[in-house]
Point group: C2
DNA sequence: CTGAACTGACAATCTGTATTGCCAAATCAT
DNA sequence: ATGATTTGGCAATACAGATTGTCAGTTCAG
């Protein structure tokens, strides 16, 4: 009988899983760039693969649809952003209002620092497919939960609709700011959003 | 020499311009329906023409790209919505706060009454093309102007960013409400948005 | 009634992209 | 060194939709 097939053979120093993971990550990073710049629906598989320095074949190794890649990009960016924001909140001390202000500032700072990611997260993402919409909804819910935990008054029921409204306001302020080429200083933008979020502090 | 060509000949009782305008309107109405239901990018020229009861040939008679048709749909819907809202504001009397409340109520009532139009206006529209984005920006600016005229305090400079934020909040409240299948009563929704817009009443 | 404009249906073409298949060069294990 | 695996490039195929073209039947004007 034959010896069983050895599925792992090292190549350029790393095992098959590592190589695949590496290629997948290359694709995600390149696609974040390309999608952020041209928009998802004006980008092709080939463009992404070229930008990643990989052949189209490797796209299908890691993803079955472009959707999947888009979702991977979105989730990577959203997770990173969320971590920045929550860590800024923790650094800001115990006061609820101060934490909220710090979160907003960190949010807008991050969007300004990486405009292409901002574009991907806020503009080039909506209405692609049900699966992508689900990913967006999940991400917004998570941010909403952070927001509630950190900023909302603990003595009252969170108002789901109102929170949606505040998040929408924060996002649209960002969109308006981005469309203007980041005209206003980041602090002014964060402060405007802070005024809006004051609606959560009343009944 | 020949007699000059007579460009108009009546057909089924109407002149060429009237027939063309009629067909164009048929296309816009059918497309509003189709785009609202399936989304713009999941709709084809053929689908729209079938729904309009016209041949594809007539699409190219009135529009050179699908973009143009989408923009026509959007602007027709946005204009109608805007008229409903401003007329509701006028009916509400002179008080600024009352007018604002009436506008919001009219807004959400209209979205609930015509869900497909709501979908077209708020969901299936973003990030299609630069031209469409321009149309959206124009429409939002017009609503913003209405809002400023009717609701904002006349004794202070309008804060552009803050207005963008309030509009974004109003829209996201609508999106959240629509996604829930219009769960909450319209009055509750309008009232939530009203709380948010209170940010415009302070400095 | 007759020829010209108009309409409606559909075929033909064009274009862009996803997806699969193939092969030569590079890299590995032994 | 040698054969097997892996990689990269690219060709072949498949497909969907837009756009243009054709043509027979309908409606009009005089």
């Amino acid at each position: 009988m034959n010896t069983p097939i050895l599925p792992t053979r090292r190549y350029r120093g790393s095992a098959i899983e590592a190589r695949q993971a590496q290629r997948r990550q290359q694709l995600v990073d390149a696609a974040s760039e390309v999608y952020g710049r041209n928009g998802y629906r004006h980008s092709s598989v080939k463009q992404v693969c070229d930008a990643a320095g990989l052949t189209q074949r490797y796209f299908y190794e890691s993803f079955s649809h472009s959707d999947e890649l888009l979702i991977a990009c979105y989730e990577q960016a959203a997770t990173a952003l969320r971590e920045e924001i929550t860590s800024a909140a923790e650094r800001a001390g115990p006061d609820r209002l101060e934490r909220g202000r710090a979160m907003l500032l960190a949010y807008y700072q991050a969007l300004k620092a990486r405009p292409l990611i901002a574009n991907l997260l806020l503009v080039e993402i909506r209405g692609i497919s049900p699966a992508v919409d689900q990913a967006i909804i999940r991400a917004l819910q998570e941010m909403n939960r952070d927001l509630t935990r950190v900023v909302a008054r603990p003595d009252q029921q969170p108002d789901e609709l109102l929170h949606a409204g505040v998040m929408g306001g924060v996002i649209h302020i960002a969109l308006h700011w981005m469309a203007s080429g980041y005209r206003q200083p980041t602090e002014v933008v964060a402060n405007t959003a802070f005024k809006l979020s004051a609606a959560m502090q009343r009944d």
